[in-house]
C-alpha cells in the first residue's frame, strides 16, 4: 500500500512537472516541500503518503478558519444542493447577505462591496475605483509591497523582479519607502488618486508600520482628497488579533480589500469594500466593473460562513493568545541563536522571523519541512520566514512549531555559510 501511495505521489509530481511547471517541482523537492496534499484538518495537512505536516504557510493566510473546516464544508455541501455560481448580471441574495455582513464587521463607515475572485482582482478594482471616483491618476505604493499579479495590482508591487518582464506597466504609479511619512508627504500631489498600502506588509517580510504612520497617512489623504486603500488580504479576518489590522491603529481606510481567508479555504472570493459616498461613482456606471465568477453565490455563502465561524469561535482573541505563546518561544530563540535570528516581527498570528542572512530562510525551510512543519521564507525576502498558521492552531501545536524551530536552528548552527557575508 505504501509503495502504491509513493507511486501516486511520484506520478503526480512528474505530471505536474510535465504539464504545469518543472522548475516549481524541482524547487519544492529541493526544499523538502514536494508535498501532495491529501487529508487536511485544523492546522494540519497529510501528504498523499500519509505523512503529517503542521501548516504554517497556509497559502499566505487562506486558512484562518483551519484546513477543510467541517462546519463550512457542510454549509457549502448544503448550498450545492440548490445553487450554482449564479449569473453575475443578476442581483443576488447571497451577494447582498455577504456585503451586508462585511459592512457590519469592517471598521467605521465602510459599507459597499464589489466582489471578485482573488486578491489581485480586488486591488485592481480598488485602484479603478480610486481613479474613477477622484478623477485623478496618481497611485502611490510602498517599497516591498505586494498586492497581486494582475494589471493594476502588479503596477503597485514593490519588487522589480515581478514587474520587469512585463513592462511597460500602468503609468502613474510612484513608489515610496514603507513607514516613512515624510517620503509619503513628498509624493502626494494634487493629482494623487490613492495611496495603497498593506496594513502590515506580508510578502515583503512582515513589516509592521510605526504606530504613528497609518494615522498620519490617513490625515494626509484627508487633506489632499486622496483615497486611502488598505490591503487587508493577509492581515484581515482576525489574523492579527483584531478582525482587521487597521483597527490596531484606529484607522479607517476609504477602500479596503479582503480575499484569501474570506473563501474559508474552500471557495475563491474577494471583496473590495468602500465608503458609501464612493458608491456615487457607480450610479452613472453600474456595469463598469464586472466579474463573471466574482462573488458567486456559492462563494458568498462560504464567505458568510467563514466570517460567522471567526466570530462564533472568537478567533481574533485566540490569535492574540496563540501569538503570545509563540512570542515567548521566539524570545528564547532570540537569546539562544543570536547568530541566526536577528529579530521577530509579529501581530497576533502574523509572524516574521528575520534571520541574519538570506541563505538561512531557504535552509530553515528545508529543515522545518524535515521536521514536518511547513514554514517558508517570504517571496520578497528570503532572509525572513513568514509564519501564518491557521487561527485554530492549538497550544500544543504552537509548541511543536517552536520545538521544530529550535531543533532546526541547533542543526543549522553547526553548518557553514552563516556569516553576514555568505
Amino acid at each position: 500500500m505504501g509503495a502504491d501511495l509513493t507511486k501516486i505521489k511520484e506520478q503526480a509530481l512528474a505530471d505536474f512537472a510535465e504539464f504545469i511547471n518543472p522548475m516549481k517541482v524541482r524547487t519544492m523537492k529541493a526544499a523538502g516541500l514536494d508535498i501532495i496534499e491529501q487529508r487536511r484538518d485544523g492546522a494540519s495537512v497529510w501528504d498523499v503518503t500519509g505523512k503529517k505536516y503542521l501548516d504554517c504557510q497556509t497559502g499566505s493566510g487562506i486558512m484562518n478558519v483551519g484546513r477543510h473546516n467541517r462546519e463550512i464544508v457542510q454549509k457549502l455541501k448544503e448550498a450545492l444542493d440548490t445553487y450554482d455560481i449564479g449569473v453575475f448580471l443578476l442581483c443576488s441574495k447571497q451577494k447582498a447577505d455577504l456585503a451586508k455582513k462585511l459592512a457590519e464587521v469592517t471598521p467605521g463607515d465602510l459599507k459597499c462591496t464589489i466582489f471578485g475572485v482573488g486578491g489581485g482582482e480586488a486591488n485592481d478594482a480598488a485602484i479603478k475605483i480610486a481613479r474613477g471616483y477622484t478623477m485623478k491618476t496618481k497611485i502611490i505604493y510602498a517599497e516591498r509591497a505586494y498586492h497581486g499579479h494582475t494589471g493594476f495590482a502588479l503596477s503597485a508591487i514593490g519588487r522589480a523582479a515581478y514587474k520587469a518582464p512585463f513592462e511597460p506597466l500602468m503609468p502613474g504609479f510612484e513608489m515610496v519607502p514603507f513607514g516613512d511619512i515624510e517620503a509619503m508627504r513628498r509624493a502626494v500631489t494634487d493629482d494623487t488618486a490613492a495611496i495603497i498600502l498593506e496594513t502590515i506588509q506580508g510578502e515583503g517580510g512582515i513589516h509592521i508600520p510605526p504606530d504613528d504612520y497609518l494615522p498620519a497617512v490617513r490625515k494626509l489623504c484627508d487633506e489632499n482628497e486622496t483615497l486611502l486603500i488598505l490591503d487587508e488580504i493577509q492581515t484581515g479576518l482576525a489574523r492579527t488579533g483584531k478582525m482587521f489590522a487597521c483597527e490596531h491603529w484606529g484607522v479607517v481606510p476609504d477602500v479596503m480589500t479582503v480575499a484569501k481567508s474570506l473563501g474559508g479555504g474552500l471557495y475563491p472570493i474577494s471583496a473590495t469594500i468602500f465608503k458609501e459616498e464612493i458608491q456615487d461613482f457607480f450610479v452613472p456606471h453600474p456595469f463598469i466593473h464586472l466579474s463573471t465568477f466574482g462573488g458567486s453565490d456559492l462563494g458568498c455563502i462560504v464567505g458568510l460562513a467563514a466570517i460567522e465561524y471567526l466570530e462564533k469561535h472568537n478567533l481574533a482573541d485566540h490569535a492574540e493568545k496563540m501569538g503570545a505563546r509563540f512570542r515567548a518561544g521566539f524570545d528564547r530563540l532570540l537569546q539562544d541563536f543570536p547568530s541566526l535570528l536577528l529579530e521577530v516581527r509579529q501581530k497576533g498570528l502574523m509572524m516574521g522571523l528575520q534571520y541574519t542572512n538570506e541563505s538561512i530562510g531557504p535552509r530553515m525551510t528545508k529543515k522545518m519541512a524535515d521536521r514536518s512543519v511547513i514554514a517558508v521564507y517570504t517571496g520578497n525576502d528570503p532572509s525572513i520566514c513568514r509564519l501564518m498558521p491557521p487561527l485554530v492552531i492549538t497550544p500544543d501545536e504552537v509548541d511543536v512549531v517552536l520545538n521544530a524551530l529550535e531543533d532546526s536552528m541547533k542543526e543549522l548552527s553547526k553548518e557553514a555559510g552563516l556569516g553576514k557575508n555568505d
Binding site: 524547487t27 529541493a30 526544499a31 541563505s359 517571496g379 555559510g417 555568505d422
Partner: protein, 119 residues
Amino acid sequence: MATSQETLEALADYQVQCNDNKRLRKMQRDWSKLLHFVADDTGDRFTMNVVKGEIVSFEAGVSGTPDIVVTASSEDLCDMFWGDLNPSQKYLQGEIRVKASQEDIIRLDAITMIIWPDV
C-alpha cells in the same frame, strides 16, 4: 580538492554545454550577469561573464563588480559545472553559498535543470 586548472577545464565544459543548448540560450536571452566563483578550500577565484544568456568569457581571478557570487569547495564547483550535483540541494545544505537575488539563484538552478534534467 580541485586545482585551478581543473576548475577552468570544468568551466570550459560548462560554457560549451550552456552556449550550445538552444533552449537554454533562448530562455536566458534576457539574462546578463557578471559572476564570481570562489573556491573556499583553495582560495581560487574565477570570473564569468554572461551576456544575453551566452557565456562570453571566463577567467581565473576576479574582476568587475559581480551580480552573483558563488562560494563552495573547489570540488563542488567542478561538480556543478560538470552537472554532477544538484546545486539547489547543496545550497540548502549550506555547502554552496550564493550572494544574489532570489531570481538569480533560481536561474542558476534552472540552467542545471535544462542541461542535465536528471540531476
